[in-house]
Symmetry: C2
Subunit: 349 residues, 2 copies
DNA sequence: AAACGTTACTAAAACGATTTAGTAATAACT
DNA sequence: AGTTATTACTAAATCGTTTTAGTAACGTTT
């Protein structure tokens, strides 16, 4: 029982394949009203479904895009994906989702695979190790949008959230709550550009308020040295009164550490973190977070990509920076009557 | 600057298209060693990438499968997807991910779209309103695997987790901790089969231990009547001492309610929930949960689907039921020295 | 009545691969 | 020497669409 194809419809309706094809493409002006009805009926009866693969081959367009995320288990990727999906669905595109796992080989092979599949474009949170490939494709006119990571050596469309501003705001808020001894916990290793901006935001806020930088408050941790580093941080002579964590992995580690060591948030330690977490509001002390506009990053990337795909010009690349939002809950030591502090002038300025 | 195609490679290498094609399909026995080297080099030089769309058309196989989940924002879907992705990647398949949002129209149009795209098979958490369609496709020999939801009217491969056992265990655990007044919170509305099993598990455990059923402890809530229902539940004369929530949405609502009303978990109210949550261990009282084997549901579904795709026989449908796992943390009122209770015999039996 | 436009179609050539059937040249066997 | 096998290829058909160029029939101008 093989699939019914255009030819079958044509034969049963007593017309040529061309006419059926015109019908499928809604160019009804090329056929009589009778014929049109007839074709319609036959398609219905036969439950005919056009073969998109054949169509794609002919028209050289698949109406499919590829999305390469770091890890679909990560809420950030998940929300971005959903944004992409929703926007694409509405514009008639499908999305092939790929997990690169921050592995540049996997990333490369996904890019190549997607191209062999003739996707119309790619949205990618790039590792940064395939920039040459990406740049080359871009030069050939292949639509690509980068998100989440910034690379100034590759001229391509990007959509980012304002990491500096977000981090700055978070730390500024802590300062306005009266904190001066503010720690930073970040993952070690070659600093992915965006993470660097968050660290810069931390320094920037301290600087603005003339708070001297204490390097013993700045910890770059790895999975191995994590406990040691946190011990160093929280068990030194003059412990910080607040911590800022630059991503949700760090957040979970720090929170776990504090819980295990019975350090009360926010009374003994205020916490402000980068990236909202689904359950952030149900924690013992609901977390104050700087939330990225994840869903919008997705829709915006998709919009930019589809624009590129559908307009056949190749304009200069575009960068879109979306603002982050500080969501004040309780882990920063917020208390009802502390609201007034929000408007105090810079402390030492 | 158009793409380089098979023909270009053939010309430059001075052979026919057929030979290049044989090369691409690794049938090296059909060409001389010289020729083989030459083709290899030309492909390298030209950066030739085969067009998978053309290939798919010819061989009638896309090496792509479709996955339709309820909502990618939901951790359950996310972990399943990841399982599917990982398994497929390793077997050389790609996955198109779709969100049906529990909307049967969306679901239907996704199924149709995926078929037009000629995917080799579909993995789907079905809404249950397109069972006729699914059954028809299955009959035609189109590979489909259902997961997460059980329908006895459709003869198709399924992979499920043992919802009854999971719920039973959760409630049994509560009973073993000494609770007798155990409430159930579930979403109202036509009971999706799996959810029903969880409810049955609740009743089953009560029955086994001869605990009389108090219907005022069983609440089916909607978004509208939520607060009223929870008020009824927690403010009645003899309040329950424990609650079991059947999914994570309910969990969040109940936890939020308890927090707002300052009811302490687990001292004033023990809580055991269905579905693990990413931050469950960081909550004020780390949650005791029954966790579904989400990742395995994904890999198993993918494995079953690919088996169906690659063996061209159509055996009787298969149902795989994976066990859930009770993860005891603290919200159930667990205390170090309560462990002994685990082994007491059924209380009233 | 010749010329031109419309209307309602169709035949055939793509799209870029795979595959089948065939062939020419050489080697091996009887 | 004649037959058969093997090696190393190629030509052409095919997959299921879209699209271009063409045409036959009829109506409308001039």
């Amino acid at each position: 029982m093989s699939k019914v194809k255009l030819k079958d419809v044509a034969e049963k309706a007593g017309v040529s394949k061309s006419t059926v094809s015109q019908y499928l493409n809604k160019r009804y002006e090329f056929m009589g009203k009778e014929t049109r009805k007839r074709i319609e009926k036959v398609i219905e009866d036969l439950r005919y479904q056009p073969n998109e693969v054949a169509r794609s081959l002919k028209i050289k367009k698949t109406n499919t895009i590829g999305v390469i995320v770091a890890n679909i288990l990560h809420p950030f990727s998940t929300y971005v994906s959903r944004g992409v999906e929703d926007y694409c669905q509405q514009r008639g595109y499908n999305v092939i989702l790929c997990n690169a796992d921050n592995d540049s080989n996997k990333e490369k092979s996904y890019i190549e695979m997607l191209q062999m599949k003739q996707v119309d474009g790619i949205i990618i949170a790039a590792t940064g190790k395939n920039n040459d490939l990406i740049y080359r494709e871009r030069e050939k006119g292949f639509p690509i949008v980068l998100f989440d990571r910034y690379f100034d050596d590759v001229e391509v469309d990007m959509v980012l959230s304002d990491n500096y501003q977000g981090a700055f705001q978070a730390v500024e808020h802590l300062i306005k709550m009266g904190h001066k001894n503010i720690a930073l916990v970040a993952p070690e290793g070659h600093l992915l550009s965006m993470r660097k901006l968050r660290i810069d935001g931390y320094y920037g806020a301290l600087k603005k308020y003339n708070i001297p930088i204490d390097e013993s408050y700045v910890k770059f941790v790895t999975t191995e040295n994590l406990t040691n580093q946190l011990n160093d941080l929280f068990r030194q002579d003059h412990v910080p009164t607040a911590v800022f964590t630059v991503n949700d992995l760090m957040t979970i580690e720090v929170l776990t550490y504090l819980k295990e060591n019975n350090i009360k948030v926010p009374d003994e330690m205020a916490v402000v973190v980068f990236d909202d977490l689904p359950m952030a509001s149900l924690l013992e002390a609901p977390l104050t977070v700087v939330a990225q506009p994840t869903y919008e990053i997705g829709t915006t990337s998709a919009r930019m990509l589809i624009e590129r795909i559908e307009s056949k010009v190749k304009p200069k690349h575009e960068q879109k920076i979306l603002p982050c939002q500080l969501i004040v809950r309780q882990s920063c030591g917020f208390r009802k009557n502390a609201e007034a502090n929000e408007n105090i002038p810079a402390l030492n300025a």
